[in-house]
């Protein structure tokens, strides 16, 4: 595959910190817009819910938890519990997971120079699904281990992909890793499907997990994944300029002083840790990792320096809104979050494909 946009980035300074006044502006505006959208999404997410807690009670329930404020609220204990222990952790968790998936997707698209890449490309989802399925079919006593098993499964799958995809010299090229990822995902999914069919009585639980389980989000989930997401986000943000260099092609990047294989390894490691952590508590939520980066790219038509951070914020906003839909559209029923994101994501993705083709005559 050749780079599609060499004219935009070939001359970008990579290693130096030479100032670029026009693009500084172009980073700031999308960031501000995305942050604004995120704030609105978060406010909507916190203030709307099937329990119908009034806005003043919702605000009161939140303010009583602000230290040193000593606010008293008329909200009942039940309403306070609903807002603080059920709704808010769910909004926060959706935001973290959305941010992680979007940043992971954007980074993978850059590092593999493939617009179809998403954070599940190298087997995280298949591995996490297998880990979760093993715990579910092993019996009810192990349910505490579910996030751990999903995390280990997700990380293990990517490690396996890298081992399989590495050339004899121990170096791994982009395409060989991608193919290894496809094979590993197929293998692990086959095992997962076998286990699930052998234990049909647990089918419902397995499916519920696969379709996404923000329904039972709690603060402990937030605390569990926050360190991984934070480290992962930091590393991905730090490498976003490298992704722009990789767009010119591996050989050209090498001549510019960037080691593509090393960048790929660091980015994949960081994205895998974060994605596996997110998936371990949220289940497999699809399409966020594809639509958020592409939406940002379409809107800003800019480089990874902009796309990675803005997608991160946009992905958080998108998943918060998708989850709001999941819990309110058919209230008091839940719609699986994975269904909502795919339902919105699939048509959007088709739109992206068509518009890209229209603009560039490719794909």
């Amino acid at each position: 595959m050749t780079a599609t946009l060499p004219h935009r980035v070939a001359g970008d300074p990579v290693v130096s910190d030479e100032p670029e006044p026009p693009s500084r502006v172009s980073v700031r505006i999308p960031l501000l817009v995305a942050t604004g959208v995120l704030l609105v999404a978060a406010l909507l997410g916190i203030s709307i819910g099937p329990a119908g807690v009034s806005l003043s009670d919702t605000v009161g329930s939140l303010l009583v938890h602000v230290p040193f404020l000593h606010i008293h609220t008329r909200a009942s204990h039940l309403d306070q519990a609903i807002v603080w222990q059920i709704r808010l952790p769910r909004v926060v968790l959706a935001g973290l997971v959305g941010a992680m998936l979007a940043a992971g997707g954007a980074s993978y698209q850059g590092v593999f120079r493939n617009p179809l890449a998403d954070p599940y490309l190298l087997g995280v989802a298949a591995g996490a699904g297998l880990g979760a399925t093993i715990v579910i079919v092993s019996g009810p006593g192990l349910s505490e281990l579910l996030p751990v098993a999903a995390f280990v499964g997700g990380v293990g799958a990517v490690v396996l992909t890298y081992l399989v995809g590495a050339n004899t010299g121990g170096r791994a090229s982009g395409p060989s890793i991608l193919l290894a990822g496809v094979a590993v995902a197929a293998l692990l999914t086959a095992i997962q499907t076998y286990l699930q069919q052998r234990n049909a009585q647990d089918l419902q639980q397995v499916y519920t997990w696969i379709l996404g389980r923000l329904t039972v989000a709690s603060w402990s989930d937030v605390v569990l994944i926050l360190p991984y997401v934070a480290v992962s986000a930091f590393v991905l943000l730090a490498h976003r300029r490298m992704l722009d260099v990789l767009r010119v092609g591996e050989d050209e990047a090498g001549s510019l002083g960037v080691d593509p294989a090393r960048v790929r390894l660091v980015v994949v490691a960081a994205a895998t840790l974060g994605t596996a952590a997110a998936v371990s508590v949220s289940g497999l939520i699809g399409f966020v990792g594809i639509i958020a980066p592409h939406a940002v790219r379409l809107a800003t038509n800019s480089s990874y320096r902009v796309v990675v951070p803005v997608s991160m914020i946009g992905g958080a906003a998108f998943l918060i809104l998708a989850d709001l839909g999941a819990r309110t559209v058919q209230a008091p029923d839940e719609i699986p979050i994975g269904v909502v994101t795919a339902l919105v994501g699939a048509p959007f993705f088709l739109f992206v494909l068509r518009s890209k083709r229209a603009r560039q005559g490719v794909l």
Binding site: P50, A51, A81, S143, Q201, Q205, T215, S218, E334
Partner: protein, 317 residues
């Protein structure tokens, strides 16, 4: 003869006079366990269409746990050759590795069955069995007690135990009526949340279990479900909705699958504010019994009624 059969026979001895008095038995001389009061071939109009059974079956394969329980209850246990891996009741049923959810036709045929009882038709395997000349009787998950009674009678007809089936139906009816009669009516509105797993899947009143609970005058919080039809009566409820509904009772049908109990429910974030938690109205149920529509529905109803009675005699503050 196992304990279960003995109990059924004793129960039948009590109930038969009732049945006779009601005049709803076709064969007054029949004794449930021994009778072959059916003239073969019999034609049954079941969920899977018209089923013709040429001879009294003596090698039944049951791939449905509820069907297995019903067969034993009507006295056809001795004719059962194999049951599926989930048919864990009554003790002594010839349990095998057969899987009713993903059945293997060759494995079933291996038992040389002359009747196969199923609750659904995954991957269209019924037509394969029919092609081999093996009659298949489908008794799908019942939504009402009336539907379950119908299934007893069909199984009775198919196996030559019509009288046994009628006796069992009368027995279940009488016991349910007794439990309901012995339970005081609610003085205030009482609601419940019925939990199928710890991600808040529930069952509405349109389901079999929901119908049972309605007999005791309980309101189901899942009935507010926006689109009960599309969820098949088993919606996934929203956590904050459950909290806001603040049900009088919480019934846990996920004690086996998901190891839930009163302690684990009370420990969920925010759930300690619920009155059912504060008043100890969390009722653990046996998942298996609660998911079947066979003879043990009486046990289930009795468990629920005991809790409800305690609440209604001493209403919580």
């Amino acid at each position: 003869m196992n304990k279960h059969t003995t109990r059924r026979l004793l129960a039948a001895a009590v109930v038969i006079p009732v049945v006779l008095a009601l005049g709803c038995t076709s064969s007054p001389t029949a004794a449930p366990a021994a009778a072959t009061n059916t003239a073969y071939p019999v034609v049954i109009h079941a969920a899977n269409g018209t089923v013709t059974i040429a001879h009294r079956p003596t090698a039944i394969v049951s791939l449905t746990p509820t069907g297995t329980e019903m067969l034993y209850a009507i006295g056809a246990g001795a004719q059962i050759k194999a049951v599926d891996k989930n048919s864990d009741y009554p003790a002594g049923a010839p349990i095998t590795s057969l899987d009713g959810n993903s059945p293997n036709v060759e494995a079933i045929v291996n038992y040389k069955p002359d009747l196969v009882v199923v609750s659904d038709d995954p991957a269209g395997f019924q037509s394969q069995l029919s092609a081999l000349g093996i009659p298949v009787l489908e008794d799908p998950a019942a939504n009402t007690l009336a539907q379950s009674y119908q299934q007893y009678l069909q199984l009775g007809q198919a196996t030559g135990h019509s009288a046994g089936a009628q006796t069992e139906v009368a027995h279940v009816k009488a016991q349910i009526a007794q439990v309901v009669a012995a339970t005081p009516k609610p003085t205030t509105s009482e609601s419940y949340y019925y939990e199928l797993d710890q991600t808040y899947f529930s069952a509405t009143s349109s389901t079999f279990i929901g119908n049972m609970f309605r007999l005791l005058g309980l309101k189901n919080i899942a009935d507010a479900s926006a689109d009960a039809a599309s969820s098949g009566g088993y919606p996934q409820l929203n956590a904050e909705y459950i909290l806001k509904a603040n049900p009088t009772y919480i019934f846990l049908a996920d004690t086996i699958c998901c190891a839930q109990n009163a302690t684990s429910v009370a420990a969920r974030p925010g759930w300690s504010t619920l009155s059912a938690v504060a008043n100890h109205r969390i009722v653990p149920l046996n998942d298996d019994i609660a998911s079947r529509w066979g003879p043990r529905v009486v046990t289930l109803l009795q468990d629920v009624a005991n809790t409800v009675k305690a609440q209604r005699r001493a209403p919580a503050a």
